[in-house]
Symmetry: C4
Subunit: 278 residues, 4 copies
């Protein structure tokens, strides 16, 4: 096989998802990612780490080797290797192998903290899975369309927790656990999001009244992002419906997961590959 | 009564819901299921179990006998007994009686754990009630239509809790209760779902900042499944509306709970029995 | 003034809301209800109850006398006194005065529990306020329209918490605080509703995994009632819009809070008094 | 430059947002506000306050001087200084500088409480940021349109927590932490909003049953505000769509964030400045 054909063949297997080999590669990669995450998670459990120390380390080296080969092959067969290396997925693929090499080549950097940090940074391998969530474009587009409203929402929440945090700091004071404004703002976030750990709670009557107000506020403003996302999703789903046209009778209005035209029964474009122009 | 007629008569009572006798049978069965659940629940309360040990055991035998007769009758009168036995409800009906027999026939398996497990497995009798929730098809259809979006949503949540759990594990460390990555992921789930038990909470400033981010994220992505379900339900309810036609004037657009045609007032098909073709 | 005219005059003041005197009566009554609730709440605070014992008791007698006069007047001026006495508001009005009389006339029933219960039952006076929430008919109608779906939703939640509660009872057992199935079901409700008190938490690995599943399930099924209510409210608001017609140009499609016709500017019927036929 | 021209020039920079200088002024002001908030927050952390006492105090004086100059300039260049001083932003701008002056000029008022209160009141400077959230008008309009429904919703929640709080007070009593009705109502709010601190929890069986009911109720009524906001936002977004017209072809129906006409491609009015008439 000439070098050019090999490159293209590899490209179809590694980057493509439409051939049998391409799909098999993807499934193998997902299994490898999940297994390497399992190794990382198991390593963090003291009792398991003690007993299986060597085995886990060798497995880790094996996975790093595997992902390194994958990275080099992607660089090799990509028509634009530099664009790939700079893309979101390229950076993630590099980040997935870097920590192990760093820990291996610089054993002198044996501060426990650095080593542990490098080890855990391997968790970002989980982001390699994002590649397989590309169906998520309707969700993402809804979020993007609503990004200005979401920003305003978070600014409002930010202003509210600053005010409520500071007020509770004055009302309750350091003796009741509210030792500083940052800690009080943390309490306000815990309360307004209805998480409610209970590690810091108001003790005075006035503090409880303020806390009640914060909760009721949080409870009701929770409705705002929901309303935003729902309204955007409704719009998006209708837009999508308008854009899918039957190749046979050219009539629109098909659902986003329709496989056949509802008027004439002709097969529609694969729902996964329909692209909606902005 | 000839054997064939008896079988059909039993079939109408046991499987049907449209005759008076069929409805009476259903109500009696629901009462029996709820009572047998009550026996199971009471048995688990130490003070009650001590005092009423024998009574509860005999009640349990009575219910098992009852459900066994029901199961045999269903097998007997069903036109396709094997299909029934293999169906969801057939398996549930068998599971509802099996544990008591196993505990009865194998008293040698007297490991406390096994017995207790068998006893509690009787809880799956509650699933016999699902048979009576068949009106739930609009809800179920909405969930099914949105299953791809829901899967993407859960994958995203999975990736997020893996990353946040690992980061808090590095930041807080075993000394603050975050003893392993699985436990830290458990904390991330407790936080992102806004449950907030408070059994493990961040102690450091950086940990609290990360926790705040997790909460705000959880608070806002909560909006995504709501938006999905609402958008699907809206679509589903409109679709339903289009499909209900008046038998007299043949005009459509009736609400899913309309009893009479809004144009000519003729009675419509019973809302419970309308079937929407997919 | 003849007796008949007086009765009608009183009826307009006490039951009506359209005259100046009627509105003044309503506002005075709301203030009296809130003040009597304040007395009840203050009485329950030990330090205040000690210091102001006599004053609070006399205030309570005064409010009871006031509400008794109101009740008698309502009975007197109502055209159908028995229908009023049997109605929701008639029963509430009686319940608002009964506890004080019972405690007064039967001091022999001085078991602390009974007295305390009677005292707190006065809290149901708060329900007298419901009379003034009649604008809530859109909300209530949406809830009523969706009552079948809401019932199915609660049955599903009931089945889920029974199963999860029983499973955690087997997994964790009495040593970790899950002493009985009712208590374990309580835990499941605390978890699935994302309340998360933290008074009972899973200790084992398997228990934490099950708890994570419960949380994620609760987090996502929370979307279902929201979707139901939103879809019904959307439908209801559109229906409402269709039914409001301009008295001048007879065109429909006005918003539920529009005061003037959007086509010709004529004044529309008062939004509070528009009645939507079911 | 004549005095009149200077005033107008300053007005465009300080109040306007459309010139380069105006935008630069806004960005500088936002940075100053955030920095002064940072100083306030840092001052509340004991360890930092101890070490950087003098520096933080001088920074505080500098920011107060800056905001004072801003306030005086706004008064000077505003065409209607008294209207400005009485407006929401005028009051906020005054509140942002007042506490420091009060603490400075009345050192005799050295009760710790007063000083601390004055210091923390500077937090209201955060409200100066609201000026820059003016894009929020769709959100605000939706909330305003739904204000009657939201009021009814909060009244309903108020009635519910009063009843549930009083019932749990009778059931659990002071021995289990429910020492008074206000405290019990606080518990009911913590529970119904699904915050669930866990500082007060029911101990008796009946109390736990009531708590379960409260949670399930809170879990489902959470759906009501969401439904209200979503329905209003849907309406609002559609209304907005109708009102944006292309200056070239005069056709409507553009999305609220569209920059160009979807029919002829002409540039539309800046989305930030479109005003929707009520």
């Amino acid at each position: 096989m000439p070098r050019h054909a090999l490159k293209h063949y590899l490209y179809i297997i590694i980057f493509g998802t439409h051939t049998k080999a391409g799909r098999a590669f993807d499934i193998a990669l997902i299994i490898a990612i999940l297994s390497s995450l399992a190794v990382l998670v198991l390593e963090s459990v003291p009792s398991i780490a003690m007993q299986w120390k060597t085995e886990l380390r060798y497995l880790e080296y094996a996975f790093t080797a595997l992902f390194s080969i994958e990275y080099l092959l992607r660089l090799y067969c990509s028509p634009k290797p530099i664009a790939y290396a700079k893309s979101f997925y390229g950076v993630i693929d590099l980040l997935a192998i870097l920590p192990t090499y760093l820990a291996f080549f610089f054993p002198g950097a044996s501060f426990m903290g650095v080593i542990r940090l490098l080890r855990v940074m391997r968790i970002f391998r989980v982001l390699k899975l994002v590649r397989y969530l590309q169906d998520s474009n309707i969700l993402l587009r809804s979020l993007l369309m609503a990004r200005r409203k979401i920003l305003i929402f978070f600014s409002t929440v930010g202003i509210l927790v600053t005010i409520f945090g500071s007020l509770i700091f004055v009302i309750e004071g350091p003796n009741n656990g509210f030792t500083s404004i940052p800690k009080s703002i943390y309490w306000a976030i815990v309360t307004i999001t209805t998480v409610g750990y209970g590690d810091i709670v108001p003790q005075t009557h006035l503090g409880k009244a303020l806390a009640s107000l914060t909760m009721l506020l949080g409870y009701s403003i929770l409705a705002v992002p929901t309303g935003i996302i729902t309204a955007e999703l409704n719009k998006e789903m209708n837009a999508h419906k308008e854009l899918v046209k039957c190749p046979n009778c050219n009539r629109a209005g098909h659902d986003s997961d329709a496989m056949h035209c509802k008027h004439c029964g002709s097969e529609l474009a694969d729902p996964d590959k329909r692209i909606v122009k902005a």
